[in-house]
């Protein structure tokens, strides 16, 4: 079914925060940030900046009326640095002025002096220096110490994955408007309105009810606006509060890239033990997460790395330890997959390395160890309605793996400077916030006297199509046309205490809350209808196609008539309901429990070609069998899956975050940070739906789709490695993603002299 929001999108009439008309007297704000990765401010001179034409004010930490603290999980991050500087780009001062250009100039007039200290940029170095955000986290199952003896082969190694810039097309933005009683209305590009509200309340020392946060839609989020939209909103609110004038704060692309956190880079050590037939007996892994300078959401992300450290495989003996390491980079943050991809990459690297030693294909080991029904994950939950093997075998059949391999072998034997590689990638991803508290939502539904419906929930529309899914929920329950249903902005005065729209759970949680709310209203309406239709006792009424049906037969009572009757008879046409995901629990201290309401599975086959002359490459195809449950919107879900896959392809190939040795971001613009473009998109991206009805906590059995497909892309890394090995079989593989063209070329010619030797007889 088509997505109604898309009609606005294609016409360019959807309204993003920057598109809303500004009110009279609006000022703009710019942020002055730390030029050093580690140091202490010795002097800060704002005098010249204040007297710059057009500048109204400059604010620093001492102007904050409440607490200078934005840390959501751990209180370790100031809004504006007071004395200690922890990363390049850390906000120090806020300049407010009438227009943006002069603010840019004034920013250059702030004079700062500081004592510089040597920064830590690398997670392992931070670990050595005991710079940990929280104590190490451990997940274990079986008996790892005694398991090694049972293995025929034990392989050790390291695996690294890189950071990733979210690159939502709409940069961070907030617009703050003063309200009476010292209150504030904030338009914020956030995935988490309540986080903004809570933080602003703390910063300004105001009750939460004085702060209204309103969100129409985001131009992409991907996790980058879950926690990190907050600071900019808080700054806009701060200036608004102090000046009593509306303030708009929008980051330029370069500012956004420099000041905000990324996907966490990880460096990991693994040890895997197997039988000669490829059965995995034991797996030990240590994850070193580069958290950046403050906790942000790192600890929750660390958890998910542990939850997904065995991906789709059953391994009886596991010990996984994770360290969240504090470094002098912008605090890293949520990004699609939330630590899961980083965990899965390592087990895939371990399998790849083991396969080379055992003279097996990696996919032989993968296939052998896939989860079966009731197998236990390292955190004790059982795999229920597990379709890991089903998706694998359908992928192998449907996409004709054997034929592909033949073709690739043939291709490689006749092409000297072009080689192909293939890999399979199964995925398994748990759905629910792993912090139980967040698994709640509420919905507010108004039916207006003309029969049109307005819906408020906590869900933020950011491209994932949640608004459309919510419309479908209401439309199905009321049996009215989608056009009668409007999804309102997400607003903290209508829906309080919102969980972030994250963890792929937006449609599930809010959809379920909405379902409940609509059912309440439906019951009221049917009762009213009974009165009107005055039927006998055994007749059953239902809503059917904007009409009331009696025993399934259309009556002469239409939806709008019923509504107006209900109103006349003073039947409430609004309802609010709350939903909390049942059946989930997790004991943190034991690291055991059932944290997920269900899992999503799937398998991908990826084919790549490497130009062994230039070191450039193509991902030719990525074909997947994906477990959507019972998809409620194929167009939305397919587009989500494809987008996630290709974003993942960027992560393992082109997208490379580079810093100078003193911690300055070098890849700070779109000309130096490359994301997949249309030419990079594989010729073939197939997403086949495995329809599977068992996911009762998914809304209408339609499983969460935002994150899981991202992880198929990990297979592309290995397909590329396999192609490179066709040209240069003797390389020592580092398992160091992303596999940029630079790394590819260096691997292709690893062990060879720079200068060519002159050809014989020519």
């Amino acid at each position: 079914m088509k997505n109604y929001d898309w009609i606005e999108h294609v016409k360019g009439t959807s309204k993003f925060a920057d598109d809303l008309p500004v009110v009279e007297g609006t000022l703009h704000a710019g942020v002055f940030t730390s030029p050093t990765a580690k140091g202490k401010i010795t002097s800060l001179n704002i005098a010249e900046a204040i007297s710059h034409p057009g500048i109204k004010a400059v604010f620093t930490a001492k102007d904050i009326p409440g607490k200078n603290q934005i840390g959501a999980i751990i209180a370790d991050e100031p809004l504006l640095a007071d004395e200690d500087l922890h990363y390049v780009g850390q906000p120090i001062a806020l300049i407010v002025g009438v227009e943006e250009y002069s603010i840019k100039q004034a920013l250059r007039k702030i004079k700062i002096e500081f004592e510089e200290q040597k920064p830590i940029l690398d997670a392992r170095e931070a670990f050595e220096k005991k710079e940990l955000i929280i104590p190490p986290q451990i997940f274990a199952i079986g008996d790892i110490d005694n398991a090694w003896d049972k293995c025929d082969l034990i392989i050790e190694g390291t695996a690294d994955t890189g950071a990733q810039e979210h690159l939502y097309l709409e940069t961070q933005i907030a617009y703050s408007i003063p309200k009476e009683g010292g209150g504030i209305k904030l338009i914020s590009s956030t995935q988490s309105p309540t986080a903004v509200q809570r933080c602003v309340s703390r910063i300004l020392n105001l009750d939460m009810h004085k702060i209204e946060v309103d969100v129409q839609r985001l131009g992409g989020g991907f996790g980058g606006k879950e926690d990190q939209a907050t600071a900019w909103a808080a700054m806009a609110a701060l200036a608004c509060n102090l000046l009593n004038q509306p303030i708009k704060l929008k980051l330029s692309r370069q500012e956004d890239m420099r000041y905000t956190g990324k996907r966490h880079p990880y460096s990991s050590d693994f040890k895997i033990g197997l039988k000669t037939d490829g059965t995995i007996i034991a797996y030990k892994v240590d994850f070193f997460q580069n958290a950046g300078a403050a906790a942000d959401l790192s600890t929750a992300i660390l958890d998910r790395t542990l939850f997904h450290c065995t991906n789709s495989y059953y391994i009886p003996n596991v010990k996984a330890t994770a360290y969240s390491c504090r470094t002098n980079l912008p605090p890293n943050t949520a990004f699609r997959g939330f630590g899961g991809p980083q965990g899965m990459f390592v087990i895939e690297a371990a399998i790849h390395k083991a396969a080379l030693k055992l003279n097996l294909q990696p996919f032989e080991i993968q296939a052998k160890n896939l989860l079966k029904e009731n197998d236990k994950f390292p955190y004790g939950q059982k795999a229920i309605n597990c379709v890991a093997r089903k998706t694998w075998s359908s992928a192998v059949d449907k996409f004709q793996l054997a034929k592909k391999i033949n073709y690739i072998n043939e291709y490689n034997s006749i092409n000297a400077l072009s080689k192909k590689g293939i890999a399979l990638m199964p995925i398994c991803f748990g759905i629910s916030f792993t912090n139980k508290m967040l698994n709640q939502a509420s919905a507010l539904v108004h039916i207006y006297t003309d029969g049109s419906v307005g819906i408020s929930t906590a869900a933020i529309e950011m491209g994932q199509g949640v608004n459309m899914k919510l419309r479908q929920v209401a439309s199905r329950i009321f049996s009215v046309d989608i056009s009668k249903i409007k999804i309102e902005t997400t607003n903290t005065t209508r829906i309080a205490n919102t969980s972030p729209t994250a963890a792929s759970s937006g449609a599930d949680l809010n959809g379920k809350a909405l379902e409940k709310t609509c059912l309440i209203l439906r019951e009221r309406l049917l009762k009213a209808a009974e009165e009107l239709l005055k039927t006998g006792s055994n007749e059953e009424l239902s809503l059917n196609n904007e009409n009331i049906a009696v025993n399934g037969i259309k009556s002469n009572l239409a939806w709008d008539k019923l509504i107006s009757f209900a109103y006349t008879n003073r039947i409430p046409l609004s309802a609010h309901a709350h939903y909390a995901t049942p059946g989930i629990d997790f004991d943190r201290s034991a690291a055991k429990g059932n944290p997920f309401s269900y899992h999503v599975y799937g398998t991908a086959i990826i084919e790549t070609t490497v130009d062994c002359l230039r070191g450039i490459y193509e991902i030719n195809s990525i074909e997947t069998i994906h477990d959507f449950g019972h998809s409620m919107n194929h167009i939305v879900d397919r587009s989500q899956a494809e987008g996630a896959i290709i974003q993942g392809l960027g992560w393992v190939t082109l997208e490379e975050i580079k810093h100078s040795s003193n911690g300055r971001l070098l890849s700070d613009s779109l000309s130096t940070y490359k994301v997949p473009d249309i030419h990079f998109t594989p010729d073939k991206v197939s997403v086949e739906f495995l329809e599977n009805d068992f996911a009762s906590e998914a809304i209408f059995n339609s499983k969460a789709v935002g994150e899981p497909p991202f992880m198929y892309s990990i297979g592309a890394y290995f397909a590329l490695i396999n192609a490179i090995m066709e040209f240069n079989p003797h390389i020592k593989i580092k398992y160091d993603s992303p596999l940029t063209p630079e790394k590819a070329l260096l691997m292709l010619y690893e062990g060879k002299e720079l200068n060519f030797s002159t050809p014989r007889n020519k």
Binding site: D19, Q464, Q640, P676
Partner: protein, 471 residues
């Protein structure tokens, strides 16, 4: 120094009295409140700000797509500016419908840019094909969909054009009849002819001149608005022509002009494909060769090509012209031999005859719309099995766009044997001194350069330069 500027914006005439360096993006969003034009990067790399620009050229209306974030409003004078709002007069266009049907939009932020770029491609009036259609949106980035669904849309749109019976119906009329464009497009040609462009300003010396602006607006946007006295170099006339066995290219010629030039295609078969590796379509529509030379980037693509063609610069102060070989122009990193009252008028090179080879190689992290890690251009002329001319250039290997003097001259008067060619590659490797930077490590660039030289010679002399040398 505000100026009066008038243009047709969608269907309305707009007369503005503004800072001529103001970007069209800001004007459209803030003054006209056409918020379908989005700001995603302000550096020409995302396409969210794409608009169509119609102008009268050779007495007929043509449209091209440009990035409004890098476009001075002065250059819109006398033109037709089309934003997504200008398409919306009608019910949804087939492109818009197809984006909805295929799921080619998610958050919607990039979407107007894609639709504008594709619509502009359809108006181009050229023989339409799938590859060009994809190229036309190569400057648009969609972070949400990863473009898979957009590709489906492009395919379905192109399929519907297969049966187009062009006849003598004008392209625009056809598109109006099929609902791709609203009816007001019918009158635009006449309206533009009546709307005189303001007189083109004299090129004023000692002022910062904006040519395509693709470099200036990225580097110095705020200065252009607030500080600098600027002037504009407009595109005019026949920019690529021959005279006395030489080919002349005016400095204001854009990369698109080069790519579209039949003349250059004839001299260097496949030339248009080399140009496709330069920026994106909207960037090529604006980026001039004068700007590319003065930009003085060590990895400038056009500069690299021109070096291997042994080009000369025609430099003028408005009165006198001096001619300087391009390989003597650069004196150091971003410094060159040009006085403050001079500008580049044109570039020339001798048209090669007889048996010759030309090749251009560029490797960047991403194949398209990316700055090279290393590029290289090679020209070799043969006479009776003897190399009589050889010019090799390389970018990303030194502080300036590099002409490989030693490697090139080594080859002169030699036969094209494997030994000689390999020896020249080894000489070239000693001539370069790349550094570690965001585009790659020095080690990488050196190896990559070797590979690109190999690629040239492998194309020119496949019998002697064979893959075995690499393996």
């Amino acid at each position: 120094m505000k100026r009066r500027i008038s243009f047709i914006c969608n269907k309305n005439l707009v007369e503005a009295y503004v800072n001529p360096a103001l970007t069209l993006l800001d004007f459209l969003r803030k003054n006209e409140r056409l918020t379908g034009v989005k700001e995603g990067c302000r550096e020409g790399d995302c396409g969210a700000c794409s608009i169509m620009l119609g102008s009268i050229e050779n007495n007929s209306l043509k449209y091209e797509v440009v990035n409004s974030c890098l476009f001075p409003i002065a250059d819109a004078d006398g033109c037709h500016v089309v934003t997504i709002e200008g398409i919306n007069e009608i019910d949804l266009s087939p492109i818009q419908k197809s984006f909805i049907n295929e799921g080619s939009t998610q958050c919607g932020f990039c979407t107007p840019g894609f639709i504008i770029s594709l619509t502009c491609y359809l108006i181009s009036g050229k023989q339409l094909n799938y590859a060009d259609a994809i190229d036309s949106i190569g400057g648009n980035v969609c972070r949400c969909t990863g473009h898979a669904a957009i590709i489906r849309s492009v395919k379905s749109i192109m399929d519907s054009f297969i049966n187009r019976n062009a006849g003598n119906e004008k392209c625009i009329d056809y598109l109006i009849s099929k609902n791709y464009l609203p009816a007001y497009f019918k009158d635009i040609e006449i309206r533009l002819m009546n709307l005189k462009r303001q007189t083109v300003p004299e090129k004023l010396r000692n002022r910062l001149m904006i040519a395509g602006g693709t470099d200036l607006y990225v580097q110095r946007h705020d200065d252009l608005i607030l500080e600098e006295e600027v002037d504009f170099i407009f595109n005019t006339g026949n920019k690529i022509y021959t005279e006395n066995n030489s080919c002349f290219v005016e400095a204001s010629a854009t990369a698109s002009d080069l790519g579209n030039s039949e003349l250059l295609k004839n001299i260097f078969p496949g030339f248009e494909d080399f140009i496709k590796l330069f920026g994106s379509k909207p960037i090529r529509n604006r980026a001039t060769i004068g700007g590319n030379i003065i930009n003085a980037s060590p990895i400038g693509d056009i500069t690299s090509i021109l070096l291997s063609l042994n080009s000369s610069l025609h430099i003028t102060d408005g009165l006198n012209e001096r001619i300087l070989p391009l390989n003597e122009f650069y004196t150091g990193y971003k410094t060159f031999n040009l006085n403050s009252n001079e500008f580049i008028d044109k570039v020339s090179f001798k048209i090669p005859e007889g048996e010759y080879f030309f090749n251009y190689e560029k490797v960047s992290k991403r194949r398209h719309l990316d700055i090279a890690s290393v590029n290289s251009s090679a020209f070799i002329k043969m006479n009776d099995g003897i190399i009589v001319e050889a010019k090799i250039s390389g970018g990303g290997l030194a502080p300036i766009p590099l002409y490989l003097e030693k490697a090139s001259s080594f080859l002169i008067n030699k036969t094209a044997t494997g030994n000689n060619l390999i020896a020249s590659i080894n000489i070239a490797l000693d001539e370069v001194s790349p550094i570690d930077d965001v585009r790659g490590s020095a080690v990488y660039k050196k190896i990559l350069f070797r590979q690109l030289l190999f690629a040239h010679f492998n194309k020119f002399f496949p019998e002697v330069i064979t893959p075995e040398i690499l393996i």
